[in-house]
Symmetry: C2
Subunit: 267 residues, 2 copies
Amino acid sequence: MTDTSAHPFDLALQISGGPDSWQGQTSPAYANMVGPFGGITAAALLNPLLLHPERLGDPITLTVNFASAVKPGPFEITTQLMRTNRSTQHWVVTLAQADGIAATATAVFAVRRESWGATDLAFPGPPADAKRFAGDFLPAWTKNYAFHMAGGMEDLFSKDNPTSTTLQTIRDNPPRPLDYLSLAAISDVFFPRIFMRIGQFVPAGTVAFTVYFHADAAALAANGDAAVIGHARANRFHNRYFDQSAEIWTASGNLLATSTQIVYYKA
Amino acid sequence: MTDTSAHPFDLALQISGGPDSWQGQTSPAYANMVGPFGGITAAALLNPLLLHPERLGDPITLTVNFASAVKPGPFEITTQLMRTNRSTQHWVVTLAQADGIAATATAVFAVRRESWGATDLAFPGPPADAKRFAGDFLPAWTKNYAFHMAGGMEDLFSKDNPTSTTLQTIRDNPPRPLDYLSLAAISDVFFPRIFMRIGQFVPAGTVAFTVYFHADAAALAANGDAAVIGHARANRFHNRYFDQSAEIWTASGNLLATSTQIVYYKA
């Protein structure tokens, strides 16, 4: 049965099977330049863990290694529970296609309890003078998000940009209540920093991606389908690999997730 | 045959077997408060990949999930090559003991080629007024490192520290030429930020750790056994989990590695 009212994000994540072996297929709506948007693959790898009958608590971290471009068509996701402790749980997940493993992931889930807390990272605030960032030259997946970015597109792709930092708002398009799946995907929406740093599109692709979830169920519910704020920057570009880090905040300054990734580039 | 002149770090990493199944044992010299120092476990998981006959290129990233405290005694490390592409390779590694899986890791190796490059992150410089940071109250593993830290110990553990940031020099003790194994371990030497942030030792342990290697063989050789500079800070402490990020630089400002980790704490 097809629910035609479902969000493209949920349609893209539809899987059957379980609990440790699932079948799904790529969604043209989330196509990137080569293979799908990495964020939808990250969500696809997290999804069977959230659905798993032995799941304990909520996701604390997810690391995805992109072993190969996912080809258009069917894939199989296999989950393996490596260890369950009193309040934490460790998983290994693989996504395979006919030609082999396309992605692996590890995840930690935990039951969180109240404790002393503080946010040391400074809230960057909402982007000033933010303009809608969109365009037909961008890959299909970007149409499922609304981005508003400080400075806008012209600034972003100016040659010899002294910085690779961007500050933007992000929400699913159409709006969709934030959950762990969309938060994982949103943590990967930041274009490879090499594009803005050298002012042109060059071959680039994420090799590995890690997200730490600070959001608990209450924080997700409080955000609802409101836009979140994303702040991203590169650290070092060196001999075909660079790393970039990013944070996702609510509009009111609640740090929902931090993420890092290492990206292949040719320049 | 025991080489009594070998460095404690190399002695701790001695394994037998291969190429996909290795036996090793914990080293009392790298004991932490509970189980071994996480950095030695990270190096132990990377080691069989560096030794593997099918290894392609150098490590680009390593993620370690600490599923359980490693118990004193023997362990078995199993490596699994998930995919080899033209210039990249993806691995899954597990460390098991009699009671089950104690750690899992994923790693990406790659053949690096020359390219355009830049370091966007600002070099923090060497720590000013650095004092040796050591003490009998610290766990055994710290004796295998020499740390010199800005501000010293009194500043570090003052109550209600407004910052969890530290800047320090780090080298193996006795000195040992830097390689991927020691760089992985050094990326994990930063005490859980909760200690300095609230000014006391509380139960805390790394749950997952990721390192991105920017150093290639030439950079490692250029550093030799000189001390490196480590810069670390927390992002957010929330309901028993916090994340911290850190960078390892040479004294001359070459960014060798960036790392992040998510840490359990009770406070």
